[in-house]
């Protein structure tokens, strides 16, 4: 399947002081911030912390498969404020993952505009999008997708390698993040030596190591048991309390009660978009279910994730 890529109308972007890709020069390389300021380019919207995290306007995505045009997203418009925890729900094939790919700068929309922190993403080149992903977006998927044969520490440090950090700094940050997810004793182990649950946490640490502005999760708890799900949800809720914007796509509508807002998609359109009326707090459920210590209930032990956040990081 090849993507049908058409650029949004230039009139919408050209000269748009809010949205022009001012921090990127003609050769596709980013300009240091001091240079931009001396150039007098439009940086104010980026520094305005009150601007929404995500603004999507008339966004469509069409895939072209031979002669057939398959619309995945049709004319979506919405905003996500900073610090919101949004759950995208809907049956399979309604465009949740496609929307997440567009929001995550993995692909460009066919039509319409997308601003991330008041910076337009709709006209950026693939290399610029890679830099945006590298510095501002974290991804979590159903599968951990780690580098085989490479230690957990190096796996977590991978985004920092492409960001250009020195080796010492990479290791220091990766170590902090592994401690954050409760794996500080496992830094030298390879993925094959870690359990699935531990691999998920390494992937979570990798998503957070670049200090992201936006965390995108596509079915992050699909393969986990009840305790693992609650721990990951508690972790996400804790991150959201600290100001991280989170967008989570899932088929399971019941996960929406842990978020602050639910957007339901149907056939590529928004069917329902409303704040979650009664929000469930995953950490309380963990406690009431008896998942409080490292004891698994059946005599086995496991490392905990959410308890650590509660005690040390909140």
């Amino acid at each position: 399947m090849t993507e049908h890529e058409t650029r949004p109308p230039s009139a919408q972007d050209a000269g748009n002081s809010q949205g022009t890709p001012s921090s990127w020069n003609a050769t596709g390389q980013s300009v240091p911030i001091e240079e931009q300021e001396t150039c007098g380019m439009a940086l104010l919207p980026l520094q305005n912390t009150k601007s929404p995290a995500i603004v999507v306007r008339n966004l469509s995505k069409v895939f072209q498969h031979r002669s057939a045009r398959i619309p995945a997203l049709r004319d979506l418009s919405f905003q996500v404020q900073r610090g919101e925890f949004v759950v995208l729900t809907g049956p399979a094939g309604t465009g949740k993952s496609v929307l997440l790919r567009v929001l995550g700068c993995l692909t460009q929309p066919s039509h319409g505009d997308y601003w991330l922190a008041a910076k337009t993403m709709s006209r950026m080149s693939a290399a610029e999008l890679a830099d945006i992903r590298n510095q501002h977006i974290g991804f979590v998927f159903e599968e951990p997708t780690l580098l085989p044969g490479v230690s957990a520490l190096d796996n977590v440090a991978l985004p920092l390698l492409y960001a250009g950090f020195a080796r010492v700094e990479q290791e220091r940050r990766a170590q902090t993040l592994l401690q954050f997810v409760g794996l500080e004793t496992r830094t030298r182990q390879r993925p094959a030596q870690l359990s699935t649950w531990q691999q998920h946490r390494v992937a979570l640490a990798r998503a957070l190591v670049n200090n992201p502005f936006l965390l995108l999760a596509d079915e992050p708890v699909g393969r986990l048991d009840r305790r693992g799900r609650l721990e990951i949800l508690a972790f996400l809720q804790a991150l959201q309390q600290r100001g991280l914007t989170i967008v989570l796509a899932t088929r399971e509508a019941e996960l929406a009660c842990y978020a602050t807002r639910q957007i339901t998609l149907r056939a590529g359109r928004i069917e329902h978009d409303a704040p979650v009326p009664t929000r469930r707090i995953a950490i309380n459920e963990l406690a009431s279910a008896g998942f409080t210590g490292s004891d698994n209930g059946d005599g086995s032990q496991r490392e905990t994730l959410s308890i650590r956040i509660q005690e040390e990081f909140l």
Partner: protein, 228 residues
């Protein structure tokens, strides 16, 4: 060379300040260049996919062995200072053998790296997803090819020279080793491997970030059959 990076510690409190000001990053300096990031990726891959690396290096190895023997043959026959037609034919045949061997070596490199790229689609797609540009992945594949073919060429020179020496002794020729011809074999082998690596590198560079269907659990850590 490139963009500034956030260089504060990743303390919990500081994160919010950074996060709230996307685009207004503190200017740091890029201490690691793009190429060294690709080199690190290449070195990791050479270790993790040892069997695949061995296959790629063996392409250059065989090419170098055959080409070295052929070059020693050419040098020794030339030393006869006999301008007969048969001598010229032998030189031509030896030259053809050398070129053919290098071409076959190049093909083996391409074949092995192409299989490697599809085998490692999950890795490449993940690297693209966490912020590697297409060019970073392309350079990584080229570096893998160059490192491996360099190794294969260096190791291949030894048996090549030994077999060449044995041939000279058997044919009772005057032993002549022309260093220019040997240097030519090394350069030819590297150039052949590099040109063979271009297509796999382009394929790898075009990998879609976080591609669906290739994101897999790395837990199995399986090295699939390199003869596939």
């Amino acid at each position: 060379m490139r963009r500034p990076v956030v260089s504060q510690p990743i303390g919990v409190r500081e994160q919010e300040a950074v996060r709230s000001s996307i685009g207004s990053r503190h200017s740091g300096h890029r201490s690691v260049g793009r190429l060294s990031a690709s080199l690190r990726g290449a070195l990791q891959a050479l270790y993790v996919y040892r069997m695949r690396s061995f296959m790629t290096a063996s392409g250059s190895f065989f090419g170098t062995v055959v080409a070295t023997v052929a070059m020693i043959g050419i040098a020794s026959v030339q030393a006869l200072s006999n301008e007969s037609r048969s001598i010229r034919l032998v030189i031509l045949l030896c030259g053809c053998c050398a070129v053919l061997a290098l071409l076959v070596g190049s093909f083996l490199c391409t074949r092995s790296m192409l299989a490697g790229v599809s085998e490692r689609a999950s890795e490449m797609s993940m690297r693209r997803g966490v912020g590697a540009r297409g060019s970073d992945i392309g350079y990584q594949v080229m570096m893998e090819v160059l490192l491996l073919s360099g190794l294969g060429t260096a190791v291949g020179l030894v048996p090549g020279l030994l077999v060449g020496a044995g041939m000279i002794v058997l044919l009772q020729l005057t032993p002549v080793v022309n260093p220019v011809l040997i240097l030519g074999v090394c350069c030819g082998s590297l150039i052949a491997a590099a040109s063979g690596g271009i297509y796999p590198a382009l394929r790898a560079a075009r990998m879609e970030p976080w591609k669906r269907g290739v994101r897999a659990s790395a837990g199995s850590n399986s090295l699939s059959d390199p003869w596939r």
